[in-house]
């Protein structure tokens, strides 16, 4: 049972990550490979604040939201100067900077050794110790985040984002201040990724930079694209399938050394297959890589 609970918790975390990346990618059409950087910042900020200052959950949550929003807004600024494709490189640079900082600022982050002994989360008087409690907590967060995303999806705000992802020139002509829209959605997406980081750090109780590499970002992108970018349930479905996928490989009986490599290859093949033949994903409608398909 512990195993299933663990898998469900991991799925929950990836649902949060995919949902938040979907806000950025599916709604505004900007591809970001920096998502695991924001995830990592959330995890590290929370771990350090809890270990060094024993700060409460809500204080860390607020800090992570503020830090990630600001970084998200800074990261989006170059996108007003460059084409969408090149914005990808800027997010890549950001990802590399964050990874290297985590990896090399040894006094603060412990470097490649990571941080261990992260205490469990305490919500006011509720100390979350067992896996079931964690599952409950993550369930609550998934629910709230789905609710928030649902509100955004249905709002006229999202309609403007759809316009921006397809034709920025037209959006400007219609009187939409695209800078504000992109900044808002990036701040929200990054903050939610940070929340996933907090939940992950305290659940696993050990974090190292290896969990927040560009590979992780690409994994989250795969979830969004295979599930269906821009759709409401797409990222949820994608997260469930892609988290379960390696577990199935394990049950088929591949030795773990082969399974790990096979996993990477299969993710790559899946991603390319979907981009070429099913760009709208399993249950999406927005054809992500086809521009202005008339």
């Amino acid at each position: 049972m512990d195993y299933i609970t663990h898998i469900l918790i991991i799925i929950g975390i990836y649902v949060i990550l995919a949902k938040s990346l979907n806000l950025i990618m599916g709604f505004s059409g900007l591809i970001s490979v920096a998502h695991s950087a924001f995830y990592g910042i959330g995890a590290y900020v929370s771990a350090l604040m809890t270990l060094k200052y024993e700060s409460s959950f809500f204080v860390t949550l607020l800090c992570v939201i503020v830090i990630n929003s600001l970084l998200g807004i800074i990261l989006i600024i170059p996108s007003f100067k460059v084409e969408k494709q090149y914005f990808l490189f800027i997010t890549f640079a950001f990802q590399v900077i964050v990874f290297n900082t985590l990896n090399n600022w040894i006094e603060l982050t412990g470097g490649a050794m990571g941080i261990s002994g992260i205490p469990p989360l305490v919500l006011i008087n509720w100390k979350i110790l067992s896996r079931y409690e964690y599952l409950l907590l993550i369930g609550v967060f998934v629910f709230i985040i789905c609710l928030v995303c649902g509100l955004i999806v249905k709002s006229p705000f999202n309609r403007v984002l759809k316009a921006i992802r397809e034709d920025e020139v037209l959006a400007l002509t219609l009187g939409k201040n695209i800078i504000i829209y992109k900044m808002t959605i990036f701040a929200i997406g990054s903050s939610i990724a940070g929340i996933a980081g907090i939940l992950y750090a305290h659940y696993i109780s050990f974090i190292d930079p290896g969990s927040f590499t560009v590979m992780e970002s690409i994994f989250i992108i795969s979830i969004v694209i295979i599930g269906g970018a821009g759709s409401y349930w797409g990222p949820v479905l994608g997260a469930i399938l892609l988290v379960l996928f390696p577990e199935i490989l394990r049950f088929i009986g591949f030795p773990s050394s082969i399974a790990a490599n096979l996993r990477q290859i299969l993710y790559g093949v899946l991603l390319v297959t979907f981009i070429m033949w099913k760009p709208q994903g399993l249950i999406g409608s927005y054809k992500f890589f086809l521009r202005n398909a008339k």
Binding site: S155, P156, F157, V160, K162, V169, L174, G175
Partner: protein
């Protein structure tokens, strides 16, 4: 200085030494339809791009409703009430026809996320009102059965009609229409022209770029002929039509 409703003074625009606009001045009154004609590369579309803020002019001034437009960003100019269509037809193709229209309303409370989360009643009310207005407009032009279709499913003529409708619902007072009826079937042309002819009655002004002189004669009160970024002549469609320079240019 007694400013007209739209006053354009001595606009200059060069692209790497190529003249796109040279000392271009003109005025526009409320409820007036002005045609802009001239050969390809005369600077007609550049004039639109300068007016709606996509391209900054090298020099010159533009006053709209006593507000200086020069150096204002495109989205601000749009919010002051200047709408435009594009020669190559821009719409958001991966959303529905209705959504394209809803997108065109200005100052929607729901486009601000703070309102979405904390004043949902206000947003819903505004959205319902816009939706009703959009449906009424779609009914008028017989597109209501396509309301929930993807915009990319519309025919070319219907798309041109839709982009005009989008300008209308935005409540803009000045419409810049770049070849609104080029390349579409005669019935649709009739429909679009009849809508344009009605605009002065709603206190709206139009500048229209068009190559077809019949269209110009039908809808325009006044015509400006331009060539190489300069205004060559201006007057009623008949006057411009009989101007020797215009005749020569069109024959060549």
């Amino acid at each position: 200085m007694n400013l007209q409703w739209l006053q354009v003074c001595d606009l200059n625009k060069h692209y790497n030494g190529i003249i796109a606009l040279e000392d271009f001045s003109f005025q526009l009154k409320r409820s007036e339809i002005v045609g802009l004609i001239g050969p390809n590369g005369a600077g007609k579309t550049t004039l639109f791009n300068v007016l709606n803020g996509f391209v900054p002019a090298d020099s010159g001034q533009i006053f709209f409703n006593n507000i200086e437009l020069h150096k204002k960003s495109a989205y601000k100019i749009a919010n002051l009430g200047v709408a435009r269509t594009f020669q190559d037809l821009r719409l958001i193709y991966q959303i529905s026809v209705l959504e394209n229209i809803l997108l065109s309303f200005r100052n929607q409370p729901g486009e601000n996320l703070v309102n979405t989360f904390f004043r949902s009643g206000l947003c819903k009310k505004a959205e319902a009102k816009n939706r009703d207005f959009a449906c009424v407009t779609l009914k008028k032009v017989n597109l209501i059965d396509k309301a929930n279709h993807l915009t990319s499913d519309l025919s070319y003529g219907q798309q041109k009609l839709l982009s005009l409708i989008c300008c209308l619902v935005s409540g803009a007072e000045l419409l810049l229409l770049d070849e609104p009826v080029a390349g579409i079937a005669p019935e649709m042309t009739e429909k679009i022209l009849s809508i344009i002819k009605e605009l002065p009655k709603q206190n709206k002004s139009v500048i229209i770029i068009e190559h077809n002189m019949d269209v110009i004669t039908q809808v325009c009160h006044r015509v400006i002929f331009m060539e190489s970024g300069k205004k060559i002549c201006e007057g009623t469609p008949q006057q411009v039509h009989s101007n020797p320079e215009v005749i020569e240019s069109y024959i060549n």
